[in-house]
């Protein structure tokens, strides 16, 4: 399986995290699993890359966190998308779409 380099993962982290949180509020471990599942394992965020990004998004007000008790009785800090975070998604998607289109024009990625 081809793994996307770390630098690109960092750039895509915001979009990936916001996209999965659009579905439902999740705690950190669930976010990383959900991203991995949705991308067939191509994108993986481990603890070291995930939490600093989550804290940054929280600081910007794009996500908010609250402690909740899971069905197994554990306390987990769950993240949900704020209205500001929701507003960030379309421009982020557009930026990535533009980026991939440009890359496609340059390298014919979709025809490769």
């Amino acid at each position: 399986m081809t793994i996307v380099p770390a630098s690109m993962k960092r750039g895509s982290a915001e979009l990936a995290i916001l996209s999965v949180l659009l579905e439902e509020p999740l705690h950190g471990y669930e976010i990383s699993k959900r991203i991995e599942e949705h991308t067939g394992g191509v994108l993986r965020f481990n603890l070291a890359s995930l939490y600093p990004m989550l804290y940054r998004l929280e600081k910007r007000g794009w996500v908010k966190a609250s402690w909740q008790t899971t069905p197994s009785g554990r306390r987990r800090r769950c993240y949900s998308l704020t209205a500001a975070g929701r507003k960030q998604l379309p421009p982020l998607r557009d930026e990535w779409r533009l980026f991939f289109r440009a890359l496609d024009r340059l390298a014919g990625v979709s025809r490769a």
Binding site: S7, F45, N46, L47, Y51, R77
Partner: protein
Amino acid sequence: MNGGFSSARWTAWRGCPVRDWKQQVRERLGALGIGPEREEEVVAELAGHFEDAYEGCLERSATPEMAFACAYSEVDNWSRLSGEIRGAVQEDPMNERTKSLWLPGLVMLFLSSVLLMYITRFGPFPKMVWLDARQPLLLYVPWLVSLPVFGALGAYWSRRAGGRVRARIAAGVFPVLMLAGAFFMILPIAILFDRNIPFSMFVTSFGLMLLGWVLIPGAALLLGALPFLRNHANESSPSRE
């Protein structure tokens, strides 16, 4: 980056009687310097992640020791993680909008206002354009000529601060946005309180002021901002890191 049972790391961790995850995380993270409450919260959150990762590995038929190593393989460098968390939690108190809109906009408003005050006091008389027989349109030509520079500086600053196109436009034309806001607040108040002046004169006066102080200066500012609305070649990456 992730996953995999690193034998070196596993050896380093074997023998640790799990599972005070909080204690393990606290020891390895060290002092974060983000305040005791927030620090405790971070420790508890990361400990929860390790606990979930550990159980996830167990579910994939790993032995407890392998699962332990597997969970901890999520962090390669604890001191780097510490630094990144500290940086993220104590991120620049100025948010993105402040940096890309309010700061450049307000500085340009201040500079353009200072220049206007200087011109009105020491500069040439304003050019009068008689669009209406009763009151002229006043144009401070040296000020208008300088505005594209302020527009360019505002948009450039906003772009440097990571502002999107809308923020760059707003930062560029910020000085007239404030004036427009003031005019739209003043007009209804003036109509309400000054009943001696005919309404038609108010409208004409307002129209002329809008033209002379908002629309024409706004166009000049926008002209200056235009070259900075496109992304610089170095900023084409979608990464915002």
